[in-house]
Subunit: 133 residues, 2 copies
């Protein structure tokens, strides 16, 4: 195995990479995923998200929700009640995405130890330079 790369194959996979970037650009934001996860169980209110997401600012919550709404991943429903009430709900497409993200979660959980150790090892080998300076 481990066939060498040819220029051709590299170009080929680059073509494949574009759609990936589309998803990632949409999901890579610091909060998008957490909103997707938090809203996966059903409609959820603005304030519930704000309290549930830990560390998110009102501003970023609004911005991220707007982007998700723009991409057709969440629906925004305004209830014209006396205390305003707005509910956000994932669209079917977003639910699919949520399922897919679960695989990534699994990968992360399965390999978090490996990565942590790799990182520690790497740092141990490369940081010392700072100590004997």
């Amino acid at each position: 195995m481990s066939q060498r790369n040819t220029g051709v194959t590299v170009q080929a996979v680059n073509a494949q990479a574009c759609p990936v970037r589309e998803v990632l650009d949409r999901v890579a934001g610091k909060w998008s995923v957490q909103i997707l996860v938090a809203a996966a169980q059903g409609p959820i209110r603005f304030t519930e998200l704000e309290r549930g997401i830990e560390g998110i600012s009102r501003r970023m919550l609004t911005l991220t929700l707007r982007n998700l709404e723009r991409d057709g991943l969440v629906t925004r429903t305004v209830h014209a009640t006396v205390p305003p009430k707005v509910e956000y709900e994932l669209t079917p497409v977003a639910l699919e995405l949520h399922q897919t993200l679960q695989r990534l979660t699994d990968w992360a959980e399965n390999n978090r130890v490996y990565i942590a150790e790799a990182r520690a090892t790497y740092d141990a080998e490369h940081q010392p330079e700072l100590l004997d300076a």
Copy 2:
């Protein structure tokens, strides 16, 4: 369906969200994924990556590779030949990640049209304010 969220469930999913963020923080970078994809076929040299990835700067290629190496996702092999030769290869763990990312690609391809339309619709409804000003 669409059961209302309870505070409890939101907290629960938040716990789940953490590992996801770990992956994303590692993959979200503008170039990480493209490197993973480009290197998925086998060992690849620095310059091959630089030419194959279109738009990446030498600096970012180096930085991203270092991070991937640090996380144990790529191995760096230096061949002490006259013209220096360094090859990068994905580790098994990275190959797993690459597989998982494929699912995201599939999702992106299946829904890119939907998202593009949603975006166009949204913009059509919210941008006009700029026109009749």
